[in-house]
């Protein structure tokens, strides 16, 4: 139904796509993978009409098409669901579903028809619980996504691009997204599924196209390949050692951070110790208090009970500024909102904390150069470039450099590799381990269990804001999940 042939595109003279081709059959889920900067998004935006191609041709059902505006792509049956949902939070579900194609009667918007058809569409998606007159802001992210899908269906979309659809979803919501995708393919839609997550790609797709550096590497039948082969094609070399080696026994230093009896309105009875050189992993389901723990240590939502010590001295940070002064740094889970001033330069971002709090390194150019070397930031733009133009992985490196400038003793990482590509992920893992080896105490929060298991010297599992147990290096995913879901308690009680 769709054929994209020899698509090329350049921005500011830099070619980001080199004659990439792709095809899609009705009812097929075709995964598109590649590291950040591989050209996936650009390719998708050529199809959705957000960018116009420099070369190549697009055919839909054998007819050549050219899009200059998203509206034209939609008219041709192409829809896109972005990672950042394109919904209007203050408008109702029905108004969002029919935005841009409101049904009219005698020239006026037919609100009744709009509500009725929205209800029908949502029922087809087995989401009858969503009332058409609810403002979108009152819905969970998963339900908002369903509204986006209904919106695509309302537009009679036959080719649907889904860009990282699970990035913002909790575990149990992913399953219903999979159902949704399958239901769409049963209706004969062709789906281009952009994702970093191998598990989803193998669960859903019939074929997988791998891009690297703007070129097509390969297109594989998912059934005839495996994760290693896909990852290999993505990064261009074997990633045999996914994770750097853990700290050798006996190399750990004295306890740097301890919390005893820590609690606030989200947490209770927190007991933890992190030694110099150690990476303490923190696991738990969404809402279990993982991030709340990091925020409590960092003084953003401080502990109201219990004791916390740093290098043997009791500390009681009531706001981030005090925590930073004491030597605590938090690489937060939302780097765009919490970690970076996006329109400022790499240099200014690197010096953000030291300038604001007045601790750590001097605020000169040599410091910037040294720190950026330290995190191995390799960009063409140099320190003067605005960080919003960097890839996710490079942005994260800038966040880490920013905190290193404050010379912390404790580094808290909350989802440090979310939204970064495989290559940058490995680089960040190596960096985390090196920083620990230099004597920092590291607390690593991650919802990706393989990462947590591969990186941690110990794993603390939280459930409902309390410690559910602690596991030594290299636990299995099952052990962690059993603690996180409270399975161990039930077993103990029985």
């Amino acid at each position: 139904m769709l054929l994209m042939q020899d698509m090329t595109k350049s921005f500011l003279g830099i070619r980001v796509l080199h004659s990439v081709s792709l095809d899609l059959a009705p009812g097929e889920v075709h995964a598109v993978v590649g590291e950040n900067g591989a050209g996936k998004s650009t390719l998708m935006k050529l199809l959705s009409g957000e960018h116009t191609p420099d070369g190549g041709r697009i055919e839909i059902d054998g007819t050549p098409v050219a899009f200059g505006h998203p509206a034209q792509a939609q008219a041709a049956g192409v829809g896109i669901i972005h990672q950042e949902l394109a919904l209007l939070p203050d408008r109702t579900v029905a108004e969002n579903v029919f935005l841009g194609r409101e049904p009219t009667r005698r020239g006026l918007v037919d609100r009744a028809a709009m509500a009725r058809r929205t209800t029908e569409l949502l029922a087809e998606l087995h989401a009858d619980g969503i009332a058409p007159d609810t403002p979108v802001r009152a819905l969970s992210v998963a339900r908002q996504q369903t509204v986006e899908v209904a919106k695509a269906l309302a537009a009679d979309v036959r080719i649907l691009i889904m860009d990282e659809p699970t990035a913002a979803l909790a575990e149990h919501e992913v399953a219903s997204l999979f159902d949704l995708v399958r239901r769409l393919t049963e209706r004969g839609l062709g789906i281009l599924y952009v994702s970093h997550r191998m598990r989803e790609i193998f669960a859903l797709s019939r074929r997988v196209t791998v891009l690297k550096d703007g070129r097509l590497v390969t297109c594989l039948n998912t059934a005839e390949t495996d994760v290693d082969a896909v990852v290999r094609a993505m990064v261009g070399h074997e990633l045999s050692a996914y994770y750097p080696p853990r700290a050798a026994p006996g190399t750990l230093g004295a306890p740097v951070l301890t919390v005893s009896g820590g609690g606030n309105d989200r947490l209770a009875d927190i007991e933890l110790t992190v030694r110099a050189g150690e990476v303490l992993g923190v696991a738990g389901l969404q809402g279990s208090g993982r991030s709340a723990l990091a925020r409590a240590v960092f003084g953003a939502d401080p502990f109201t009970r219990g004791r916390m010590t740093l290098a043997g001295r009791e500390v009681r940070p009531r706001r981030p500024r005090e925590a930073i002064r004491a030597g605590i740094a938090l690489v937060g889970e939302d780097r765009k909102a919490e970690g970076l001033a996006l329109r400022q330069s790499v240099r200014d971002n690197t010096l953000l904390v030291t300038r604001a709090v007045g601790v750590g390194e001097r605020t000169g150019e040599t410091t910037v150069t040294r720190l950026l070397d330290r995190v191995r930031l390799a960009t063409s733009g140099g320190p003067g470039q605005e960080v919003r133009y960097l890839s996710g992985g490079n942005q994260q490196k800038v966040v880490i450099a920013k905190w290193l400038a404050a010379r912390p003793r404790v580094l808290l990482f909350d989802e440090p590799t979310r939204g970064v590509d495989v290559g940058a992920k490995a680089a960040i893992h190596t960096l985390v381990r090196e920083l620990a080896a230099e004597g920092l105490a590291v607390l690593l929060i991650s919802s990706e269990l393989p990462e947590l298991i591969g990186m941690s010297d110990r794993v603390l599992v939280l459930a409902d804001g309390r410690p559910a147990g602690e596991l030594p290096a290299g636990p299995s995913e099952e052990e962690i999940m059993r603690l996180a879901t409270g399975g161990a308690d039930r077993a103990g009680a029985a």
């Binding site: 896109i80 203050d90 935005l99 619980g129 009332a131 969970s140 809402g287």
Partner: protein, 339 residues
């Protein structure tokens, strides 16, 4: 949250109680309650001082005072909802009165050409504002400030005082009333109804909310956002034109200060925001704006009756506006999760 499965199906229609609560949290409802409250308070305070607040001349005066600001604020609502802004409304109103009075030149026969001339002038200026914002990609604040300066230059170069003569019949628009209600109030209500209808029942209206709410998202949904902004600017300027016609009828002549003396540019923005429309766009509407205008007019009337010191009066107005927006910001934070 670990155990929380996807929340159970909500009833398809919100329960009446929830609906009622949502209604109270709606600034458009809140501001009218505030208007009622301010009126009662004014009545009580004036009564304690031995005066009478709700007299017919007083009510007529309040309503009369609502009209010009109301019309301009309604226009401003259109552009602000769409995510834009218009700072040229004050000078445009002045110029409108001059064009109206000079075209009429005291003759009833020239009323129609005068109305057409004023509306054409305003449509032209609105179009210019819209084109500068959408085509030249100039920030609306700067674009319309620039247009305001151009209009000001024209006015100051060509007029030193009142000019033209508004015909007798046309002045009735400014002075006639039905019972205590000035006829001009019907004009205001008519324009408000028309705009309410546009916002609620036309695709243009839906697209204005969408463009103001998230221009990128609207564009991706196939909305022609530039055209929407353009039309909003023209609608705004047309409202200013209607206000200018009313002001000309009140003054009996064109005045180079008709719009600027009352600072309709910033006052109209204040009224819109007081009415609960987000300055960033995408949320709000004409009902709230009329409420905002009413609150400001009632406050003025109370202050005048109590002969409040002008300094104190301005301070109080400032406090009211800031307090209202602070309350809305709180309401928004608690009303729904942020994304």
């Amino acid at each position: 949250m670990a155990a929380a499965s996807p929340s159970p199906a909500l009833p398809a229609v919100a329960a009446p109680a929830a609906r009622w609560r949502r209604g109270l949290a709606d600034p458009a409802v809140g501001i009218w309650l505030a208007a009622l409250g301010v009126t009662l308070l004014g009545w009580a305070v004036v009564a304690v001082r031995g005066g009478e607040f709700l007299t017919q001349p007083n009510i007529t005066g309040i309503l009369q005072n609502c009209v010009a600001l109301g019309l301009i604020a309604l226009g401003q609502t259109m552009v602000i909802l769409t995510g834009s802004l218009d700072l040229s409304v004050a000078y445009l109103a002045s110029l409108g009165t001059l064009v109206a009075a000079e075209t009429m030149a005291g003759s009833d026969g020239n009323m129609v050409p005068a109305v057409v001339a004023v509306l054409a002038l305003c449509a032209g200026v609105g179009l210019a504002n819209g084109l500068i914002v959408t085509r030249l990609k100039v920030n609306a604040f700067i674009a319309t400030l620039g247009v305001a300066l151009i209009l000001r230059g024209w006015i100051e170069d060509n007029y030193t005082g009142p000019a033209g003569d508004v015909s007798r019949s046309f002045q009735r628009l400014g002075y006639d009333r039905i019972g205590p209600v000035p006829v001009s109030v019907f004009l205001l209500v008519g324009v408000a109804l028309a705009l309410w209808f546009v916002l609620r029942r036309t695709r243009l209206g839906h697209h204005m909310y969408a463009t103001g709410g998230d221009e990128h998202a609207a564009r991706l949904s196939g909305v022609r956002t530039e055209r929407t902004v353009l039309v909003a600017h023209v609608l705004c300027a047309l409202c200013v034109g209607i206000a200018a016609l009313f002001l000309a009828a009140r003054f009996g002549a064109g005045s180079p200060w008709a719009g600027t003396e009352a600072r309709y540019d910033l006052e109209s923005i204040a009224a819109v925001v007081l009415g609960g429309t987000l300055l960033a766009g995408g949320r709000g509407g004409v009902v709230g704006t009329l409420g905002g205008v009413t609150v400001l007019a009632v406050l003025d009337s109370v202050f005048n009756q109590l002969a409040v010191d002008p300094f104190f009066k301005n301070v109080l107005r400032g406090v009211v506006i800031i307090a209202a927006v602070a309350v809305y910001a709180r309401g928004r934070r608690s009303a729904g999760r942020s994304r």
